[in-house]
């Protein structure tokens, strides 16, 4: 039994076991303690006895027994006795369907809108994803004590304010589901373009977001937007090997070595896009996934069906209008109708404090031969990016342009 195996089993079992125990004990804190006790027992027994055939079920049963022991020992009040008696009643091992319901409850509790977004993200990674506090702290570049405090505070609010442990009703689901998807999407985006640090991507966070995305699809197989989000992440992740050069620089989509894309992820993502589009309930994640599917479908950059991309961005603008969507649409328009049309499509787009708008403007101006304006736009973009890889890319582009500009003037 290798430590890696134990870690993988624990991570997989943690969310399931805490979800079941939270329903039985009525409190996340007690549930986590019971599950951690069960892990300690597992570490004592598994090396000698071997890993049980259903490790997660073993953890749940052991944690429940520990909780009963603990309650009996601490029982000073009748209700404790009653609670212990209720837990001790013969109960068949939890069925897969029941466990799934508990995991869904936990997911919606962690993503409750009364919790701040960073708290939702941390709780979801801890209680649904099974990451340790240290792993989450590392992934977001904050001290472990800070992350621990964030988790304690969030769990305290769930307990004190009585955030319910239940799946929203059918009527409330449309309001609540986007919040859950947003948490997973945020984890992926943070992994895909680390907002701080030297690396352009944090593959561990991307992998975790995809794992959560797979869980969402498993838990809510009938939600097309959950399928759409997973497809979007897979189709984006598929290009990661080609997105950063050997020297750590950002490689734009049009210049990527497409032979390095992950064909299996693309096939899976495209299959998911087809599956959710068949349901004919389009949403923002599905359309974004469809756009990535068009890109991933092209054998070379020149083969990209940009007209289809523009159509999809038009659709996305009606579903989820945002300056970033308008910006990406303008990039696609430039590919179909030329850089001047792309520049015209940027009119009225405002994206303060982001390097994206001046970076796109710089590229379009460069292609139009408006070198002076392009250099100004590169300077503006460089002022606004904190990511080292993106800075390096923009500096390279700017330096190439100004060198060409100088030699043309010489």
């Amino acid at each position: 039994m290798t430590p890696e195996l134990v870690e993988a089993v624990f991570r997989e079992a943690y969310g399931r076991a805490v979800a079941v125990l939270t329903r039985l004990l009525g409190d996340i804190g007690s549930a986590e303690e019971a599950v951690q006790d069960a892990f300690v027992v597992a570490l004592q027994r598994w090396p000698a006895d071997g890993v049980p055939p259903a490790p997660a079920g073993w953890i749940v049963t052991t944690a429940r027994n520990r909780a009963i022991d603990l309650m009996r020992r601490e029982a000073t009040r009748d209700d404790r006795h009653r609670q212990a008696a209720r837990l001790a009643e013969p109960d068949p091992p939890p069925e897969e369907g029941a466990v799934r319901d508990d995991r869904l409850r936990m997911l919606f509790t962690c993503c409750h809108p009364a919790l701040a977004l960073p708290a939702r993200v941390a709780l979801t990674l801890r209680l649904v994803g099974g990451l340790t506090t240290a792993e989450i702290a590392h992934a977001f570049g904050v001290p472990e004590a800070t992350m621990a405090q964030r988790l304690v505070r969030a769990k305290g609010k769930i307990r004190d304010a009585r955030i319910p442990y239940r799946v929203p009703t059918e009527a409330d689901l449309p309001d609540r589901l986007p919040g859950v998807l947003a948490v997973v999407s945020l984890v992926f985006t943070e992994g895909h373009t680390a907002s701080s640090g030297s690396g352009l991507v944090r593959p561990d966070l991307c992998a975790e977001a995809i794992r959560l995305g797979r869980q969402l699809v498993e838990l809510m197989p009938d939600e097309p937007e959950a399928l759409g989000l997973l497809a979007l992440m897979l189709l984006t992740e598929a290009r990661r090997p080609a997105r950063v050069s050997a020297t750590g620089d950002l490689v734009p989509l049009t210049e990527q070595d497409r032979s390095r894309w992950d064909a299996a992820l693309i096939a899976e993502g495209q299959d998911l896009v087809r599956r959710c589009l068949r349901r004919n309930a389009p949403g923002a994640y599905q359309v974004q996934a469809a756009i990535q599917a068009v890109h991933d479908d092209a054998a070379t950059a020149a083969d990209t069906d940009w007209r289809q991309v523009v159509v999809l961005y038009d659709h996305l603008l009606t579903l989820a209008p945002s300056p970033v969507v308008a910006l990406n649409r303008a990039v696609a328009v430039a590919e179909v109708d030329g850089p001047a049309a792309g520049l015209a499509a940027l009119e009225g787009v405002e994206l303060p404090r982001s390097h994206l708008l001046p970076a796109v403007r710089a590229d379009l101006l460069r292609r139009l031969g408006r070198t002076g304006e392009a250099l100004d736009a590169y300077a503006a973009a460089l002022d606004l990016t904190g990511n080292a890889s993106e800075r390096a890319f923009l500096e390279r582009r700017r330096d190439e342009l100004s060198a060409a500009h100088r030699s043309a003037q010489a």
Binding site: H112, A114, D160, A161, R162, I163, P164
Partner: protein, 119 residues
């Protein structure tokens, strides 16, 4: 069941808006309070006079010092409140939403400690 305090967060010094603005707000707010009573979750509540009417008592060297005015000068103050008795936060937030719509003001929803407020 747990109790929640729904606080009406009122901006300014508490000078009431003109009657043509205030009248529909009072009517809508009263309607929400009646709905709370009908639903059996209303415990207590009401609107408060402006902070200028407040007197604050402070402990000082074993004595009690009287101060004319609210406990803190702030841009916002408690304009009124409702205490409700509902099963969980979602239910409290639903009532809070209705009060936001009626008062057109922010509403803070805050849980009481278990068992407090019941003598």
């Amino acid at each position: 069941m747990p109790h929640y305090l729904l606080t009406v967060v009122q901006p300014g010094d508490g000078t009431p808006p003109p009657p043509e603005v205030l009248e529909p707000i009072m009517r809508d707010t009263d309607a929400v309070h009646r709905a709370m009573v009908d639903a059996g979750c209303w415990v207590f509540g009401g609107g408060l006079h402006p902070p200028a009417a407040a007197t604050t008592l402070r402990p000082k060297d074993g004595e009690v010092l009287l101060v004319d005015g609210p406990f803190a000068e702030a841009k916002e103050h408690v304009g009124g409140f409702s205490v409700i008795d509902v099963p969980d936060l979602d239910a409290a937030l639903d009532w809070g939403r209705r009060l936001v719509a009626a008062t057109t003001l922010p509403i803070e929803v805050r849980p009481f400690h278990d068992g407090s407020g019941t003598p």
